[in-house]
Amino acid sequence: MRAPDADDILLQVERVALSFGGVKALRDVSFNIRKGEIRAIIGPNGAGKTSMLNVINGFYRPNHGAITFKGRTRAKMQPFEAARGGIARTFQNVALFKGMSALDNIMAGRTLKVRCGVFWQLLRFGPALAEEVEHRRKVEEIIDFLEIEAIRKVPVGRLPYGLQKRVELGRALAMEPDLLLLDEPMAGMNLEEKEDMSRFIMDVNNHFGTTIALIEHDMAVVMDLSDRVAVLDHGVKIADGTPDEVKRSQTVIDAYLGIVH
């Protein structure tokens, strides 16, 4: 595993608060993600994990607090601007383009890398064709990496769940992101599929050097994969540290198991 550089901070979340009416989803949460690490965010249901990703992503605008990504602090941001900045994301419930083939889904992930204008795309000739082939080559590398060669032309709606999750990861990888947000990549998978997915996540981290923020409920996976773990409960960060530290923390144990009053 790559040794993350302790000083090289890719994303800094500072005192972020988010509320929906009276519900406080996040209260003054601060944490950072170092370049090259696998950072897990865990917590019981309703702890605010997905809300945190949505804030990083630009879907939700925090009530206060600041997010610094690659040295730039920003107040508000549109999701496509986050994408432009180099943040990719997969969803808890698969969010693929159902009517398109696996190949087209991943090709769509290259949108931001397309240089030819509409005019050339219209003619699909010369530079436009050359670019299309070049993107296809990159996408085929990802298809190769994720071992989904056989299903590349199948409409994703027809694929089993585990493969859909893999295609979604492929689409995120096609963006060549600096930061990859994975929202429960193993939800609803059997043991074998979980092992495959864990291997892909580690390989992405190792080979491409992509920084990964991971939300996951399977503790075995989280403890094995991640370099550092942040624990949220009721919108508050209750622990932060290496997997071993977090495992021993009494507040974390209480949050998961409940305490006798």
């Binding site: 992503n57 879907f59 549109q78 999701p79 496509f80 986050a82 994408a83 432009r84 990719a88 994301r89 969803f91 969010a95 693929l96 383009f97 159902k98 009517g99 398109m100 087209d104 090709m107 769509a108 992930g109 290259r110 949108t111 931001l112 397309v114 030819c116 509409v118 795309q121 219209l122 003619l123 699909r124 436009a128 064709l129 299309e132 082939v133 296809r136 080559r137 085929e140 689409r171 995120a172 096609a174 963006m175």
Partner: protein, 375 residues
């Protein structure tokens, strides 16, 4: 046997992403284009069956080509980008009236300011293309609500476009050059010094337009812009996350779609109708185009052609069939029967195959590739 791709190896990605990667498809297309560009004009010129009279050209092939073009435009918006539109008829009208105004010369007096904008009459080809551009501009304008509203609500908003332009072309005499009857006549069709007059010439003119625009549309939908449109259609949130701007994707779909529909509208008016009233582009036309893309296949260029053929030819067949069979039915009964059978046929088709003829064909192709084995 006939439809097998065995032995056709693709060694480059460029070969794999060609329009028709399978050789049999390329041959079929070449044959089809050969018949359309050479066979039909030859038969029609020498009046060989079934072109003994001009009926087949005038009443079937010409409207089929133009409406197929309009259906392609509608399909880009509804089928590829998923924005339901009931305003296609209005965009055809904008194309037609803009082309008409440009071909006859535009004069806009600003009496209060003491000057006027005058554009001399433009050549027909320029007028038709500029008519398409005007329609594209109107499409962008009426596409802006799509950024906020979706689905059926958007359909209602585009319905507003339909009624507004119906009203404008009927009530504002400037558009019809103050013709007292409200009906206008197309200018003489001159293209680079060649005059298009006979049905065969008109057919060839439309065929060139349809072939070129269909090819360009096909290029767009299988390129990056097409993938952006489909991504917005299938899952707009995820589309935004991979860097697609909804504003750009939706408005380009509206623009491209309205351009094609506008050109089709100008052709419909200039080449097919010759003289027309706003009624030619009423809400009925919008619905007809929508049916064409739904029955032909949403998200398929070929489906647009099949849908146009079905909607256009099925009623004619139903009309002719009882007489041919010698059934003693009155004309009125035949008309009623035609509506009943046509309606139930559409219901039946949509229940059997909700994705239209295009899906039926692709399923058929898949089966043929494996034939005689089931899988």
């Amino acid at each position: 046997m006939l439809y097998r791709e065995t032995g056709q190896f693709k060694t480059t990605y460029a070969e794999d992403i060609a329009i028709f990667p399978i050789r049999q498809d390329r041959i079929a297309l070449a044959v089809l284009l050969g018949i359309a560009f050479i066979g039909v004009p030859l038969l029609a010129t020498f009046r060989i069956w079934p072109f003994g009279s001009d009926y087949l050209l005038w009443a079937i092939l010409l409207p089929f080509l133009i409406l197929a073009l309009a259906a392609i435009g509608t399909n880009i918006l509804v089928g590829y980008c998923g924005q339901i539109s009931l305003g296609s008829g209005a965009f055809m009208a904008i194309g037609a009236y803009s082309a008409y105004k440009l071909a006859t010369g535009v004069h806009i007096p600003f009496a209060a300011l003491g000057f006027a904008i005058s554009i001399p009459p433009l050549p027909v080809l320029a007028s038709i293309l500029l008519g398409g551009l005007m329609s594209a501009a109107a499409g962008i304008l009426f596409g802006i609500p799509s950024l906020r509203i979706k689905g059926l609500y958007l359909a209602v908003a585009t319905l507003a476009a339909q009624f507004f332009f119906d009203w404008a072309f009927l009530r504002l005499p400037w558009f019809t050059n103050y013709a007292p009857s409200g009906s206008v006549n197309a200018p003489e069709l001159v293209f680079f010094g060649l005059v298009v007059r006979t049905p065969v010439e008109r057919y060839l003119l439309c065929l060139v337009f349809v072939t070129l625009l269909a090819m360009l549309a096909k290029n767009l939908v299988r390129g990056n812009l097409g993938r952006q449109w489909m991504a917005i259609r299938d899952m707009d949130i995820a589309a935004e996350l991979i860097g697609i701007r909804p504003l750009y994707a939706k408005l380009t779909a509206f623009a491209v779609s309205s351009f094609i529909i506008g050109v089709a509208g100008a052709l419909w008016a200039f080449v097919y109708l010759g003289s027309w009233e706003p009624l030619a582009f009423s809400i009925d036309r919008s619905l007809e185009l929508l049916f064409m893309v739904i029955i032909g296949g949403l998200g398929s260029i070929m489906g647009s052609f099949i849908g146009a053929a079905f909607i256009l030819i099925a009623p004619i067949m139903l009309n002719v069939l009882p007489t041919e069979l010698g059934l003693p039915l009155s004309t009125q009964t035949i008309t009623h029967l035609q509506f009943i059978i046509f309606g139930s046929l559409i219901c039946y088709l949509l229940i059997k195959e909700p994705h239209g003829f295009a899906r039926l064909i692709s399923i058929g192709k898949e089966k043929l590739r494996l034939w005689p084995f089931p899988y």
